[in-house]
Amino acid sequence: MSTKTIATQRAAMNMPTGRLAIWWVLMSEIVIFGGILVSYVLHRLAHPEWAEQAAYTNVHLGATNTLVLLSSSLSAVLAHAAAERGDGKRAAFLLRLTILGGLIFLIIKSFEWTHEIHEGFTLQSGGFWSYYYTAAGVHAFHVIAGMCIMAWVASTAAKNQELHRVENVGIYWHFVDLVWIFLFPLLYIAK
């Protein structure tokens, strides 16, 4: 792997390039999730009858998933604290714990979805369900993407290299958790 270019190591903005880039990624993600959520809220307020469809969402599984993601956020920030101290091994272990949290989240979601589809609420069965699956689907996609990147970062962090990446991927993970914090009331509570 070629050594880093000079450009990557400069910090004219007094902050590491990696973290500046991650914040820009988050800005473009805000407007992407924003696009879906704005459309959802608009249609939700335009069609009061969707509340009946929304009644079938399982708020218990939703809440558990929120708990799972919050805990994975905790392990992500602990991983960052470990990376701060230069303890690559512990950071890698905590990152893998975070990945496990993501996995649990996906497993719960797959149970939830199979149950709902089994009951006949598919993507096509009405406006609410279209937005429900689209929003949660795009979010799940971002969870999977985050898990893959985190696995890669954990592998390098274990060798005490590129420890700054632990923080960057942590910030991304917290954002994914943040999106879920807003998805939870929108999809599960607003009945």
């Binding site: 000079i6 190591q9 400069r10 910090a11 004219a12 903005m13 007094n14 902050m15 590491p16 990696g18 500046l20 914040w23 820009w24 988050l26 800005m27 805000i30 407007v31 924003g34 696009g35 959520l37 704005v38 459309s39 809220v41 608009l42 249609h43 307020l45 335009a46 009858e49 708020v59 809440a63 929120t66 708990l67 919050l70 805990s71 956020s73 905790l74 920030v77 602990l78 604290a81 470990a82 701060e84 101290r85 230069g86 005490n160 290299q161 590129e162 420890l163 700054h164 942590g170 910030i171 917290h174 958790d177 943040l178 914090i181 807003f182 939870f184 009331p185 509570i189 607003a190 009945k191």
Partner: protein, 176 residues
């Protein structure tokens, strides 16, 4: 903000900003994060049980405040304590606020068209009403194309606030 020449960094980047973020010794820091996590879980429980209480008591406003109010608080805490946005450069906070503000702008400008069922000189009729009526009988039937696919022609049905003066009882027009 003059750019100071950056020494070619070894593997671990030097953090340019506030010392507090530099990370004190492990112990107190980890406990701090666990404490934040605990508060977040409590808030989750509030947002979980709040709506149940609200629906039982029928206070709809309580449902909304617990659900969305708690979400905003949790979001702020995650951003502040886990993402350390408070010690970040001001331009980063500005970017995030701009992103959210753009979405609020998008919502505000689109709501009059999408969210409302009618407006000045227009109203939604076809998809908006539940039971969707086929259009009323057309007399010169020759050109009346068969209603395409699953949805019929937009209803000839007029909303009560039809600006037409002579909204007399139409013969043969089917109701909702």
């Amino acid at each position: 903000m003059t750019a100071h020449p950056q020494a070619p960094g070894h593997g671990n980047e030097t953090h340019g900003h506030g010392a507090s973020h530099g990370g004190g010794h492990g112990g107190s820091h980890e406990a701090h994060y666990v404490r934040i996590w605990a508060i977040l879980v409590v808030l989750l429980l509030v947002s979980y049980f709040g709506p149940m209480v609200a629906t039982k008591l029928g206070w709809h406003w309580l449902l909304l405040t617990t659900a969305f109010g708690v979400a905003v608080i949790k979001a702020y805490m995650v951003a502040k304590n886990f993402m350390h946005i408070n010690v970040e450069q001001p331009i980063i906070k500005f970017m995030m606020v701009t992103g959210v503000a753009l979405m609020v702008l998008l919502y505000g400008a689109i709501a009059p068209d999408i969210q409302k069922g009618d407006g000045q000189n227009w109203q939604k009729d076809a998809g908006f009403h539940h039971s969707f009526t086929t259009s009323k009988p057309h007399h010169a039937g020759a050109h009346e194309p068969a209603p395409a696919g699953e949805h019929a022609a937009p209803a000839g049905e007029h909303a009560p606030a039809e600006p037409m003066p002579a909204a007399s009882e139409s013969t043969g027009a089917s109701g909702h």
